[in-house]
Symmetry: C3
Subunit: 184 residues, 3 copies
């Protein structure tokens, strides 16, 4: 496909949205993707407070108007009452891919005792893959490292453009190795 890959990056943070706090999550995602993705892509950034309606509106806008085939959120996935990113994501989604949430927590559990508290979701809206990431930049890298291998096939299977990954993701093989087949 010739469509340019567009990746939405939605920062969800009360403090970052008022400017009280610098948004570290959004840039951390873009930095990580810049190293991991070998094919052309562009980021579409958004920043909203921890408000369910505003998160939903931004997700719809990124998918429906901005035509992002892949959208990452950062922040708002914990158990605290203000954390509503998973609720907003679910509200705009057609399908859940439970394996992403499970894998993100399993990866995170290798680093922190509190991995079970995250309610991160992976979902599909139309032809786009939505993924909730944590707010902490270090945790973002750890989790993207653990899940990115599944993303190009997923985007392709739901109708998005091909995503070529760099050696940092494939482990040095450009052709799909034995670990890169799909079980469908």
């Amino acid at each position: 496909m010739d469509t340019l890959l567009r990746i939405g990056v939605l920062t969800v943070s009360d403090r970052a949205s008022t400017g009280e706090y610098e948004d570290l999550g959004g840039p951390a995602i873009v930095d990580w993707l810049s190293i991991a993705i070998a094919s052309p892509w562009e980021a579409v950034n958004r920043l909203v407070p921890d408000d369910q309606k505003q998160i939903e509106m931004s997700l719809r806008d990124l998918v429906d108007n901005e035509h992002c085939q892949l959208v990452f959120t950062t922040g708002g996935t914990g158990p605290a009452p203000r954390d509503v990113t998973p609720e907003a994501t679910l509200a705009v989604s057609d399908r859940i891919l439970p394996g992403f949430g499970e894998l993100m927590r399993a990866v995170s559990h290798q680093y922190v005792l509190t991995a079970a508290l995250s309610r991160q979701l992976g979902t599909i809206r139309g032809s786009s893959l939505l993924l909730n990431l944590p707010g902490n930049p270090k945790a973002i890298s750890q989790i993207l490292e653990g899940i990115f291998g599944a993303i190009p096939d997923c985007v392709a299977l739901i109708g998005g453009p091909e995503i070529a990954v760099t050696e940092s993701v494939t482990g040095g093989t450009s052709s799909p190795g034995p670990l890169h087949q799909i079980n469908e």
Copy 2:
């Protein structure tokens, strides 16, 4: 119990259902079970396209009319729009057993980077256990290997017949070992 164990094997595939493609998933399941199950059983096979209503009808038929106490599906669990096996399974089920989906993906993750894309479910309809398996024969074996140890106890707990397993499943002990107790 004296009831003969009947196992439904439902292949879900557009191409296999038109004859364009040989059904490999169904036979792979039957072959694996033939080695794993030591007690008497018989298979009841079905083949349908990736159509939610037809999958639901076949699942209902296998449980309600054919009296299968255990039903495996193969195929249709990925993220692509035509993949609707989990939706159909959920629609005819009374309860979800989330541990089966989690375990199937965790097992698959040892072999492929794309394990998180599978939406496989384990559920209960009446007194029957329904399990979604992938379409790929190799992946079917890997996953059955990883989950079968939990199946006989589950079938017994929901009212089905006793299932004796061969050494290939129990690890050489015919009596339940320390790994084979149930935490209830």
Copy 3:
């Protein structure tokens, strides 16, 4: 916060509730917590049969009237028709924390082949954390060992009192170590 930590311990068992069988699950939870928690706390015990309405009433009472910020259930999480503890828990909850159920099953899988059969949930009702544990005392210890590290942060994030843990939980460090940061 100065509020005393109150922990609800709800045993769900037909046989224990009629006195036919000694309640082993409830005491096992209290014993384990007595070793793990260094700060002041008190237990509020309840015992009900495997009846969804009675479980729901007890959970509401423990949270709303007894002001337990943390509630453990024991028993009734398997696949058998009488097992309805997860249904009752879900019915009185505002939110699910899927990571707790996943982690409990992953921990249990290290010990038993049947871990996937458990439908244990972790949820939030108001400002309280509800966690379903199995009925077997040995399995209770194994699972509490595996999940307790995530509990103090969770209780604090949803508005509960601080919980100090003993060396048996923190691994000998009283200050949060590298494994004890939170990714939010």
